[in-house]
């Protein structure tokens, strides 16, 4: 099979396969009168790396945070590995999770990496990596420790395993945060502008780790401003504009021939 064919087979979903790793249908969300998400749908299959682009205020971070219900969407459906997150009508008329245990279980499968790292500052790096696997997933501590050390070696900060997060550089903290996400053996990884808070010289080390994750077939949704990553690493690019999907497609094609005026302008601004 040629490389092109293999790529085509990977990105085209088999007919009738409703077990996408993650599927979002018609998600809407308003803050007060301001409608931030105006019905966004997305499907990611195993191994997909979807870059979500958009200027600030386009709703891209809100979209990601609605997927694991850090923000509650006003309407829409989220399925993880085919499992629908059940919602109910709250007393104030807004929708809320029907079963918080289900949400917690689903969240454990959707490890998130944040812009400001959000490592637990009172725990060492190693403790950060074993806290959720031992308590949330109830895996044996010894096994978690072993895995944590291996992951820290992989992201290149094993020597810092006994450091507290505030004692490390931003790049090291973010790599630790990615290792913390990997320690959950998640079905999908959510990245919320993982390099935006980093000094420019530290961005490379984080992107290298993310690229290696993409190469080993991890399913990733990445909200980012890194055009190089979106173009060269991701399998799909979704461009949000004013709370709507402006364009969606294969990155090489999108960047070579921008399908809309909005997207053309967006990448032109980045190349200035």
């Amino acid at each position: 099979m040629s490389a092109d064919l293999a790529a085509a087979a990977k990105s085209a979903s088999p007919p009738g396969d409703d077990k996408a790793a993650i599927s979002v249908k018609d998600m809407r969300k308003s803050f007060g009168d301001h409608e931030v998400l105006k019905g966004i749908s997305l499907e990611a299959h195993k191994g997909d790396v979807i870059s979500i682009l958009g200027s600030s205020g386009s709703g891209k971070s809100t979209f990601l945070r609605c997927i694991n219900l850090l923000e509650l969407p006003d309407s829409g459906e989220v399925r993880v590995d085919g499992e629908l997150i059940r919602m109910k009508q709250g007393r104030d008329g807004r929708q809320m999770p029907a079963d918080i245990r289900q949400v917690e279980r689903v969240r454990a499968n959707l490890a998130m990496v944040f812009q400001s790292f959000n490592l637990w500052s009172h725990m060492t790096v190693l403790e950060n990596l074993v806290a959720a696997p031992t308590h949330v997933l109830k895996r044996p501590r010894a096994e978690c420790l072993e895995q944590a050390e291996a992951l820290l070696k992989r992201v290149g900060i094993w020597e810092r395993r006994n450091y507290y997060p505030p004692h490390m550089s931003g790049g090291q903290q973010q790599r630790a945060a990615i290792a913390r996400a990997l320690a959950m053996n998640p079905k999908v990884m959510l990245f919320d502008e993982p390099t935006s808070a980093l000094d420019p010289e530290l961005v490379g080390e984080v992107l290298r780790v993310m690229r290696s994750l993409a190469e080993e077939g991890r399913t990733m949704l990445v909200v980012t401003h890194e055009m190089g990553f979106a173009r060269d690493v991701s399998s799909q690019v979704m461009f949000l504009h004013k709370g709507e999907v402006d364009s969606l497609g294969e990155p090489k094609e999108m960047f070579a021939r921008p399908p809309t005026q909005q997207f053309k302008q967006f990448i032109a601004n980045f190349n200035k």
Binding site: A111, M112, F117, S121, H122, T124, A132
Partner: protein, 248 residues
């Protein structure tokens, strides 16, 4: 020369008085003061964390209760609260006992003095501790709480693994202050007849007519207790903040 003789005279009188049993009285006073303070701090910690949680709650009713608690018990004189609990408590207990017929119409049931005292001081201490805990909770980096949610931790796990350890760390300096306040407040419960340091010094001063000596001595002992606690809390602060870069 005469001054020196005079001073030596005074000192030997002081020694005789202390050796005659007043010294032991003062030592008992110190242990009662510490007991009152520790028990009041524990009552205060329990009430304080509940009140802090109420003040941080999303329910308006709970917030109102929490606000009222801290406003009332920080805004009233400590002595008034103590009288209220001790004499008020005696009146309530007596009323209940008389109405159930378990005592005669002229008998009274006294509020136990230690209990009434530590309840009053503990409730006051709780009002100050509530503010300390609330401030500490608000100082936790929001992103860390969000990460705990995003990794599937239940509310109980978030409290135990992320909130509690950080609130304790941030609360240590503030709790040191409350501890000092509580030591001083404990002197006020001498009015209920708990033989803590203040009451012991008082008795000694009145019985021997050496007021200067015994009040000065009690003053020094209070100062020793409050100043010993400062380095202890500083040490605790260093331990609980070990994960943070200290600006040089």
């Amino acid at each position: 020369m005469e001054f020196l003789n005079n001073l030596l005279d005074q000192l030997s009188t002081a020694y005789e008085l202390l050796a005659a049993g007043w010294g032991v009285q003062l030592l008992w006073g110190i242990s009662w003061t510490l007991a009152v303070t520790v028990v009041s701090m524990l009552i205060g910690a329990t009430l304080g964390s509940l009140v802090a949680a109420a003040k941080l709650s999303s329910s308006g009713g709970l917030r109102f209760i929490g606000e009222s608690y801290t406003t009332v018990f920080r805004g009233e004189p400590e002595l008034l609260i103590i009288y209220l609990f001790y004499y008020g408590g005696t009146q309530v207990l007596t009323g209940v006992a008389r109405s159930t017929g378990s005592i005669g119409p002229t008998d009274i049931v006294n509020m136990p003095s230690f209990l009434g005292g530590v309840l009053a001081v503990g409730i006051i201490s709780g009002a100050y501790q509530a503010e300390v805990f609330r401030g500490s909770f608000l100082a936790i980096h929001r992103g860390e709480l969000e990460a705990a949610r995003a990794y599937g931790m239940s509310a109980l796990m978030r409290f135990r693994l992320v909130i509690m350890p950080q609130v304790l760390r941030l609360a240590v300096p503030g709790l040191g202050n409350v501890w000092q306040l509580t030591i001083k407040d404990s002197a006020l419960i001498s009015v209920t007849g708990v033989a803590e340091l203040m009451l012991s010094a008082n008795k000694a001063a009145r019985s021997t007519h050496h007021s200067l000596l015994f009040y000065a001595l009690a003053g020094i002992l209070y100062l020793v207790m409050t100043s010993i606690s400062t380095p202890i809390f500083e040490k605790a602060e260093r331990y609980t903040s070990r994960s943070f870069v200290r600006p040089k």
